[in-house]
């Protein structure tokens, strides 16, 4: 019975998306990016600088929103899940449908909210189109990754407050704490060659990975930072980007896989 039945998964996906289009959070997220991006492009006279500023926001905000909405939506749609569990549907279809429903809905808000302003300012004519596209892809990766992580936490913890708390901690860890620990170890072990250590440490943080992915493409050495420079030195731009890309894919697949496994074993 390991075969996959996409037909019923798409049904669940359809109803999850339908449900989310009724939520004002979806529109709030879209409007925030729309206004923010228009504002940024209006006030900065240099598109490449605007892209750097966008990057700094996206690296923090997309994971945070995916984390919060992930927990909010998972706990909020429990009734719907229990109704579906009694129907002739595979558990994996139900929970994959939900995961894809939220990830896609968040992605859509983000894509339209940032895409419309950049198209309005004719990004395609500035020579920055590829950089913007890569930034967009990194933002989508972070949305899918952190939705998966917060679903994984939410299915493990019946208690909503615990689930929210742990999800937010995971975000805080990757967005802030991880870099702090990382920098600290670099300072303490200054006299040792730490390049490989830095390379490996970066693979274990999806936010750092996304930053490196963008930086390799932008190729601004002043902004590349230590990890970006290490990636560049060891792997070069091309291979570095492939490694970052592949690692990000793994960061989506593994949490979702574990989430689905938990979902299959859970008592409802």
């Amino acid at each position: 019975m390991r075969t996959f039945y996409p037909a019923s998964m798409f049904k669940i996906l359809k109803y999850s998306l339908f449900d989310l289009t009724r939520s004002r959070w979806t529109y709030g997220y879209f409007l925030f990016y729309l206004i923010f991006t228009f504002g940024l492009l209006y006030f900065s006279n240099d598109v490449s600088k605007a892209i750097i500023s966008m990057m700094n926001i996206i690296l923090i905000l997309n994971p945070l929103i995916a984390t919060l909405f992930g927990a909010l939506y998972f706990y909020g749609s429990k009734e719907f899940a229990e109704l579906l569990l009694a129907l002739p549907l595979k558990r994996s279809s139900i929970f994959m449908g939900k995961y894809l429903g939220l990830s896609l809905s968040l992605s859509l808000s983000y894509l339209l909210g940032t895409g419309i302003p950049f198209l309005f300012y004719e990004i395609q004519a500035t020579g920055q189109a590829w950089n913007f596209l890569l930034l967009t892809v990194a933002g989508l990766f972070l949305t899918f990754i952190f939705t998966g992580l917060s679903f994984l936490v939410s299915i493990r913890f019946e208690n909503t407050i615990k689930g929210f708390g742990i999800s937010i901690f995971i975000w805080l860890f990757f967005a802030i704490i991880y870099d702090g620990i990382f920098l600290l170890t670099l300072l303490i072990f200054e006299q040792y060659p730490l390049d490989k250590y830095a390379l490996i440490m970066t693979l274990f943080n999806p936010i750092d990975l996304s930053r490196v992915l963008i930086m390799l493409k932008l190729d601004i050495s002043a902004l590349m930072g230590y990890t970006g420079a290490v990636f560049n030195k060891f792997l070069g731009t091309g291979l570095g980007m492939i490694v970052a890309f592949g690692s990000l894919v793994i960061w989506i697949v593994v949490p979702v896989f574990v989430f689905i496994r938990f979902a299959k074993k859970k008592d409802f």
Partner: protein, 235 residues
């Protein structure tokens, strides 16, 4: 037809079902009795695949349900606590479930029977407790199924709906369906149940007909026999 063999389930250290053996026959109404927390809902959810048993097996119409999901289209299920997407209207919910199950349903005669026509356009969160329960009944009986599994189906029903519900059960029984229900309403059991199962502390304490239960545990009335069991006078 549902065959349950040595079903065991624990939640952490709480052993809820300690090896249940049970046949739920076609064309028969089986009532599960037992005090609160005796595992009635856990037994039912195990049949639905919502609770994963620790040990034992469950077979429905000749096929094991383990790692299976298609068998659920042979079940009409009424959950003890009706959990609905509260923002949907009743008719939207019905349409959605029909779409997911890819089958037509007989919701119209049931809505007529339970006087639900006006409720169709209301969001579920605006329904009274009794009306929710009637929607719950409608959803359970909407699709033609060989098995109906009903967890405290009469909670909150008004007398007229209760009569209609009993008629519905008797009709489905005559159609040869296997009907499993839990209830605390003794008169319902006396009137309808062919087989009675009494769950106590994770085991089947009694299994047989209403008459057998009465003659074995004393009391001219069924409620006295049940009271005798629960107060421990049977030992």
């Amino acid at each position: 037809m549902i065959i349950i063999d040595n079903l065991q389930k624990s939640f952490g250290r709480n052993e809820v079902l300690k090896g249940i053996n049970l046949n739920i026959r076609d064309g028969v109404i089986t009532a599960i009795l037992g005090p609160n927390g005796s595992g009635k809902t856990t037994l039912i959810k195990s049949i639905l695949g919502m609770v994963i048993p620790g040990d034992g097996s469950i077979e429905m119409n000749g096929k094991g349900i383990h790692n299976n999901w298609k068998y659920r289209n042979q079940i009409g299920y009424l959950p003890q606590i009706a959990r609905f997407p509260e923002n949907l209207k009743v008719k939207e919910l019905i349409r959605m479930i029909k779409d997911i199950r890819r089958t037509e349903g007989k919701e119209d005669p049931l809505a007529e029977m339970f006087d639900l026509k006006q409720a169709m356009d209301k969001p579920l969160r605006h329904l009274s407790g009794g009306t929710r329960q009637k929607v719950n009944i409608l959803l359970a009986f909407m699709f033609e199924s060989p098995n109906y599994i009903l967890d405290e189906p009469t909670a909150g029903l008004d007398p007229l709906s209760l009569i209609r519900f009993k008629e519905l059960l008797i009709a489905e029984k005559k159609n040869g369906k296997a009907i499993l229900l839990t209830t605390h309403i003794v008169s319902l059991v006396e009137e309808l149940a062919d087989d009675v199962i009494f769950l106590l502390e994770g085991n089947i304490f009694f299994s047989g007909s209403v008459e057998e239960l009465k003659s074995k545990y004393g009391g001219l009335k069924l409620e006295h026999s049940i009271a005798n069991i629960l107060s421990g006078q049977h030992v």
